[in-house]
């Protein structure tokens, strides 16, 4: 039995320690907002937060995250900054198929949580790990810039 803290709730899970966090979240806890895209940390669809930092849950053995605070896309909507990000995603009509967007939003939110100064280069660094096959990149950039401006951290 492993003890996991996901979205503020403690769970006891009976899984092998090497099972990636992604599959515990999706198949055991039934939180399917976090997506499977590649399984080798190449696409970022599985991005969640571990103690506020973005991590690729598809390559993270669950035993290595015991005791850490895990946040998934389902756990962010109470946070004002996250709501701003989600609002910006809608205002800029970012999503197309939408499959990668949970991961995109988790990476963007981590950037906005972490940085006091954001510019295009910072967006490149923070978001280059998240693939979008619909290629919504132009709008992702605009949405992040929009939130950065609204919270006063956009510094081109």
């Amino acid at each position: 039995m492993l003890t996991l803290n996901v979205n503020g709730t403690t769970h006891q899970v009976d899984v092998p320690g090497d099972m990636p966090l992604l599959w515990v979240i999706r198949d055991i806890l039934k939180l399917t907002g976090t997506k499977f895209g590649c399984g080798i940390a190449q696409c970022g669809a599985c991005t969640v937060h571990m103690d506020g930092k973005p991590v690729r849950s598809c390559v993270l053995p669950v035993q290595s995250v015991a005791g850490q605070e895990i946040t998934t896309i389902e756990g962010i909507s109470e946070k004002p900054l996250a709501r701003k990000v989600q609002r910006a995603w809608l205002d800029h009509e970012v999503a197309q198929c939408g499959y990668c967007q949970s991961g995109q939003i988790m990476s963007a939110l981590a950037l906005l949580n972490d940085q006091t100064s954001i510019n295009d280069h910072a967006i490149d660094l923070a978001m280059a790990g998240n693939l979008c096959r619909c290629a919504t990149y132009t709008r992702i950039r605009e949405a992040i810039k929009d939130v950065s401006e609204s919270v006063g951290v956009w510094q081109p």
Partner: protein, 732 residues
């Protein structure tokens, strides 16, 4: 139960063949659709009342539109949502004519029903080919207008007044003396009326919703993790399954040692089929671990001797042959004899994978008395047929519950993974969710064919082509998808655009030389024949302009004097990018133009050279005239995304074969454009009242040639083979 690859029923195949020929051979190619798209079975059903308005008091109205007692409008979407925003577009069409707000509409997925949901342009029930807006434009507005007329008539009857004195707005009918009544209260009465045969659609100048940037209906749940795709579904008693097919296409399972796999915690069953081994388990990780633990001995078969070099050589040989003549106008042979000069070039394009981000997935429950499929599919009818064929059930015993699709790009026009899921589910007693690993997905895709195009022009004294000969060699998607080529021997998709190029030519001869790669199955991509032809033609014309020492834009305009809409688009592009101003040193611009999927697109790429082979994309501009626009936000998004999708492939992508096996297994080897490499795409929409054109694949079609033309302008190097990285270039 049958355990071999399913063959579609012959009757439907004939129908399909006939339909595709019509759609791709005559209707779409180079011919503008009339303002009202031709009537489909569905449009006729709506018009004749066979299955539409008034068919069911319980459901309210119709095949496409049902108004409930609560006034909510159910829109039964004949088109699958895979990110293109089509369900919002269709909802706008219905809401416009029915006079309801978009927020009153609930979208449902259409079940398989060829009579009701056949796309008149494709002639089968499918989402693809950039036809969705073009097809739905007439029947869906008509369905909304018909419902509105009946509701107004019902209100007039209640008030004992003339319906001409009543009007509808915001889900209510208003009478001449200030009366009002909501749609929900009128449903039962309205549903007793015969359908009107005098349905009048709104004039575009009266639109208040169509043409406005409406917010997508499906996006709110796509930003909070609540949206469900096939891969996210869960059913009572369901187990996960994952499969490994023979790494070589056409190979078989010889024997399997599954002792280690059975010891993996969570693994339930091992299902061994002729060419596939599957594991079922309580979770996806256990499935993947179980598959890894299997010791499978394969019989790879004949394809294991084939490498990419073999495919290359076969195509090089093929373009020396004449194949089948797809079209011949004027006397090209005489033109070539008499021409003051000739020019010839060969353009090559690689195998490509679709690789949508949601790996192939399908939930199936096979029972003795029926089968349920929960799957995102572009072809619900084929999904139903394949499940029926595998299980021996009747098609009507197979229920298809279509889902939102996590990217398709043609992948879910194929139903190989559905067939596989049903084959596995037929061997177990519980529902299963098939989830492929990325490696399985990429190595068992069906691939956009590798092609070679050989173009030979007769050039006059001013440097303009009098005519050209265009040889197209590659595998036939049409033949693979439908079962055989049309009697002409020409793949109508492969030669699209090539047989009707936009440029004025006195003579033209197009050859289709079928050269099947055999080693991998070929299939649709985000645009296929249109892209292939456009790539070759736009690179070739650019070369001709260069050879003539002329500006590539004004050169094209000279050859396009008969195409006023294209000229308008070219002029708009020229003004947006200040084409007549010189570019800074070290930079170059390339452009490409086309009439594609019913739309006109001009794309310009500006590059700068970083050292000898470093490419920096400075600017990417595209102009689109797609006729009357339903949702400008969606048009812009599709042009942005489609252009970058094409750019990603043109820069980086190529599927290689070694020993019959696809070498690219995941995104580290099949690189995709990332945000740090993606330039902003400037999209300009030409205002137009013409019939709607398609935009899903339009941007993708122009970026490849525009990029290579820009490379030539920047580096003085004429690259004729995709992807660009193959020639030593890199993104700087």
């Amino acid at each position: 139960m049958k355990d071999q690859q399913v063959k579609l029923e012959m009757a439907s195949r004939r129908r399909f063949l006939k339909g595709i020929s019509a759609a791709l051979g005559g209707l779409v190619v180079g011919a503008w659709l009339p303002p009202m798209a031709p009537k489909s079975a569905a449009a006729e059903a709506v018009a004749q009342g066979k299955a539409s308005l008034g068919d069911s008091l319980a459901d309210g109205f119709g095949a496409f539109v049902r108004v409930g007692h609560d006034g909510r409008v159910a829109l039964i979407s004949p088109k699958a949502e895979m990110g293109q925003g089509i369900q919002t577009g269709i909802a706008m069409m219905v809401a416009e004519e029915l006079e309801v707000g978009l927020d009153q509409i609930d979208i449902q997925e259409a079940p398989p029903n060829a009579e009701l949901y056949t796309d008149a342009l494709l002639q089968f029930q499918a989402t693809g080919g950039s036809t969705s807006t073009r097809y739905t434009w007439e029947p869906l507005r008509r369905a909304g207008a018909t419902a509105r007329m009946l509701l107004v008539r019902a209100a007039a009857s209640v008030w004992e007044t003339d319906s001409n004195l009543c009007h509808a707005r915001d889900g209510k009918v208003f009478g001449p003396t200030g009366q009002k009544i909501s749609y929900g209260e009128l449903v039962d009465l309205a549903a007793t009326y015969a359908l009107p045969d005098d349905v009048i659609l709104k004039r575009p100048e009266d639109f208040h919703l169509i043409g406005t940037p409406a917010t997508r209906l499906d996006t709110p749940t796509k930003v909070n993790g609540q949206a469900k795709f096939t891969i996210d579904l869960d059913m009572p008693g369901m187990l996960i399954t994952s499969a490994r097919a023979c790494p070589v296409y056409g190979g078989k399972v010889r024997q399997v040692d599954d002792k280690a796999a059975r010891r993996v915690p969570g693994v339930r069953d091992i299902v061994i089929l002729e060419d596939v081994v599957a594991v079922t388990a309580t979770n996806t990780w256990a499935c993947f671990q179980g598959l890894k633990a299997l010791n499978i001995e394969w019989d790879y078969g004949a394809n294991s001797k084939i490498d990419s070099a073999v495919v290359d050589q076969k195509l090089q040989d093929a373009i020396q042959r004449d194949g089948v003549i797809a079209t011949e106008k004027g006397a090209i042979d005489a033109s070539l004899q008499a021409a003051s000069s000739k020019f010839e070039a060969v353009y090559e394009q690689p195998f490509l994978s679709r690789s949508p981000l949601e790996p192939m997935s399908c939930v199936v429950h096979v029972r003795d008395d029926g089968c349920d499929l929960w799957v995102g599919t572009q072809v619900p009818g084929f999904a139903q047929q394949t499940a029926a064929a595998v299980t021996g059930l009747k098609p009507e015993q197979v229920k298809v519950h279509n889902q939102w699709i996590g990217g398709a790009f043609g992948r879910r026009l194929d139903f190989d993974f559905i067939t596989q899921a049903v084959r596995i589910a037929s061997k177990v007693s519980y529902p299963v969710k098939l989830t492929w690993s990325r490696e399985e997905d990429m190595t068992h895709d069906l691939y956009r064919p590798q092609y070679a195009d050989r173009m030979t022009a007769a050039v006059n004294g001013e440097g303009f082509p009098v005519g050209w000969q265009h040889r197209i060699a590659g595998g036939s998607i049409f033949a693979r998808y439908v079962g055989s080529l049309p009697a002409s021997g020409v793949d109508p998709d492969a030669v699209e655009v090539a047989v009707d190029p936009i440029y004025k030519l006195d003579s033209l001869k197009v050859h289709f030389i079928r050269e099947e790669p055999e080693v991998v199955p070929v299939s649709w991509w985000r645009g296929v024949g249109v892209l292939r032809s456009t790539f070759a033609i736009e690179c070739f014309v650019d070369e001709l302009a260069h050879n003539a020492g002329k500006d590539p834009l004004s050169y094209r305009k000279t050859l396009l004097a008969h195409k006023p809409r294209v000229l308008t688009a070219l002029d708009l592009l020229a003004s947006k990018v200040a084409w007549d101003s010189p570019v800074p040193r070290g930079r170059g611009r390339g452009l490409a133009v086309g009439e594609v999927f019913g739309s006109i697109v001009v794309t310009m790429v500006e590059l700068s050279a970083i050292g000898e082979k470093g490419v920096r994309i400075e600017r990417l501009v595209t102009v689109v005239d797609c006729g009357l626009v339903t949702n400008p936000t969606s048009v812009k998004a599709q042009m942005e995304g489609g252009t970058l999708f094409g750019l990603s492939a043109a820069l980086f992508n190529e599927i290689d074969i070694k020993g019959g096996q696809v070498q690219q297994e995941n995104f580290h080897a099949y690189r995709q454009l990332r945000i740090s490499e993606a330039p902003p795409v400037e999209v300009h929409i030409v205002p137009s009242a013409e019939a709607p054109g398609g935009v899903g694949e339009a941007g993708t079609a122009l970026i490849g040639p525009a990029l290579l033309n820009a490379v030539n302008a920047t580096f003085g190097d004429r690259v004729r083979r995709l992807p660009l990285v193959r020639s030593g270039y890199f993104i700087a």
